[in-house]
């Protein structure tokens, strides 16, 4: 009974959201149709959709955009994975060694506050125009939310569970593997969901600075050519990529953290 009511509510919530978005799109289309804004500045939604369908077709049929999409996807995922391993190792050391935590935390907060995107030109100089610099850029931006969540997840393990392990005279390693690590996973996944989206941003910013391929490069090119509708379509494609990656992380979260959704 309650399930049906909540389902009905969910459907109606989605309907309201769609109506608001559709209303916005209609207004936008009108503004462009009546020539209130030049198509060179703001293309009509219909034009963007046409371009979007076009690039999707091109990707499916193996056009040059397929390569650009795969390059950006590869850079984002590789950067994310690199950041994950570094943040996991670094976060574990910081959380488990009190001295390191005390000494390092203020600096990490300071580095986290620095605008890492501003480093993109330097990173490209250091790591070249290939995918390497984009992977580093994606990893750099994805690293901090992961690190902070690994540290806080490990540091905020349930004191009751730690007391239980203490009462069993468990070794630090036992306590880490049997309690702290699984207890930290919800926080780690929360960090991963932020980081995967950040990684795409990092890869695209890296491509803006200088690249041989990738959707960031495509945006720069279409921008020069004043093909604003195509630029919008590529941005939409990047959003789609971010959303899909986000849901991939969420999907794995649901399967790994099976105990956080009560079955009772």
């Amino acid at each position: 009974m309650t399930g049906r009511i909540s389902l009905r509510r969910r459907v109606s919530d989605h309907a309201i959201a769609l109506a608001i978005i559709a209303g916005g799109v209609v207004v936008w289309e009108m503004v462009c149709r009546f020539g209130l804004v030049s198509a060179l500045v703001l293309p009509a939604p219909s034009a963007v959709i046409k371009e979007f369908v076009g690039i999707c077709n091109e990707i499916l049929h193996g056009g040059p955009l397929r390569n650009d999409t795969l390059v950006t996807l590869y850079e984002s995922v590789a950067g994310f994975v690199l950041a994950f391993f570094l943040a996991f190792i670094g976060g574990t050391l910081i959380a488990e060694i009190p001295l390191l935590r005390r000494v390092m935390m203020p600096y990490l907060v300071a580095i986290n506050a620095a605008p890492k995107i501003a480093l993109a030109p330097l990173i490209v100089v250091w790591f070249g125009f290939g995918t390497g610099s984009k992977i580093v850029m994606a990893a750099l931006i994805a690293f901090f939310p992961l690190l902070i969540n690994v540290v806080s997840g490990l540091a905020n393990a349930d004191p009751q569970k730690l007391k239980l392990m203490h009462s069993l005279a468990a070794s630090p390693w036992m306590t880490f593997t049997k309690v702290k690590l699984p207890d930290a996973l919800p926080a780690v996944f929360a960090g991963m969901k932020i980081a995967i989206v950040f990684a795409v941003v990092g890869a695209v910013v890296g491509e803006f600075v200088g690249a041989e391929a990738g959707l960031g490069l495509v945006i720069k090119r279409t921008d020069y050519q004043l093909d604003v509708a195509l630029t919008f379509a590529v941005v939409a494609l990047l959003s789609l990529m971010g959303i899909l990656l986000f849901y991939a992380v969420e999907w794995s979260e649901r399967h790994v953290l099976f105990w956080t959704t009560p079955k009772n």
């Binding site: 009751q160 569970k161 007391k163 239980l164 392990m165 203490h166 009462s167 069993l168 005279a169 468990a170 036992m174 049997k178 309690v179 699984p182 099976f258 105990w259 956080t260 009560p262 079955k263 009772n264």
Partner: protein, 271 residues
């Protein structure tokens, strides 16, 4: 060689004597616990002395803040004492011991493990063979009526059922001493009574030494051989009184006039 053998034989005889109840398994004398709160010192326990015999069921009752949990945690080796002595099986307590099984106010189950795996946790922590204990773990869960739930997860169980899993985990490695820190206080009255009966049944079979912390006088009278009554600020052991109710105790005990008299006697001590 001969004298070495002789010494060993004497030592073993002493152990046997202790096993027969000649020496208390828990000995606490002139125990003191202070907590430092900035400039101030809070005295949690002052001059507490208590001996617990092997196989005895003793409860500690008192208002919140009387230090009954602190005393239990010192015996468990979880927190250090400030002064005095605390011994377990004639050895000074310096840290947690595998001779002790513990239960807390909440079940503290690991939600990512099945109920069976939760019961097996001590075996893994102690580095023992899972295979040797898995049948025992199943039997224990069966004993408390959770046979059908061994492969389920804790979040599929009610609070009372979760505490029963915690009982099994506590008993798995056959500890000599059970330390229970208000284990049933978060449960509803019916569930608590049911688990009191379960605990009595298990204790009747195994005769473990139990130190049971509670603020429920009725529960303490029902379960215990002796009750240590504690006072607050500073935490002191006011009196240890014997509960002369026949065993085995059952649901019938709860309606026995003798039971009510004992409850009234303990209640009277709190004024």
């Amino acid at each position: 060689m001969v004298s070495g053998n002789h010494v060993r034989i004497v030592a073993r005889t002493d152990e046997e004597l202790a096993g027969a109840g000649a020496a208390p398994i828990i000995e606490v004398a002139n125990l003191r616990k202070d907590y430092r709160l900035g400039e101030e010192t809070l005295v949690a326990l002052e001059d507490v002395s208590l001996s617990v015999a092997r196989g005895e069921f003793i409860s500690l009752v008192g208002p919140s803040g009387c230090g009954k949990s602190t005393l239990l945690n010192i015996i468990a080796g979880l927190i250090p004492k400030s002064a005095g002595t605390a011994r377990l099986a004639a050895k000074e307590i310096v840290g947690p011991s595998r001779q002790i099984g513990m239960m807390f106010q909440t079940p503290v189950l690991l939600p990512w493990r099945t109920n069976l795996e939760n019961v097996l946790l001590p075996v893994e922590v102690f580095g023992l063979s899972r295979r040797e204990y898995i049948d025992r773990a199943r039997r224990l869960l069966d004993l408390v009526g959770l046979g059908p739930f061994v492969e389920r997860y804790p979040n599929e169980l009610s609070g009372g059922m979760q505490q029963r899993v915690a009982i099994c985990r506590m008993l798995l490695c056959d500890p000599d001493v059970l330390l229970m820190d208000e284990p049933f206080s978060a449960l509803d009255e019916m569930t608590r009574e049911f688990l009191n009966m379960e605990l009595l049944r298990i204790w009747q079979e195994r005769r473990k030494t139990v130190v049971f912390v509670t603020h429920n006088i009725g529960e303490a009278v029902l379960l215990s051989d002796r009750i240590g009554v504690m006072s607050v600020r500073p935490g002191r052991l006011l009196q240890v009184i014997d509960i002369d109710l026949p065993r085995p105790r059952t649901k019938a005990t709860l309606v026995d006039p003798q039971y009510f008299r004992q409850v009234a006697r303990v209640r009277g001590l709190f004024g």
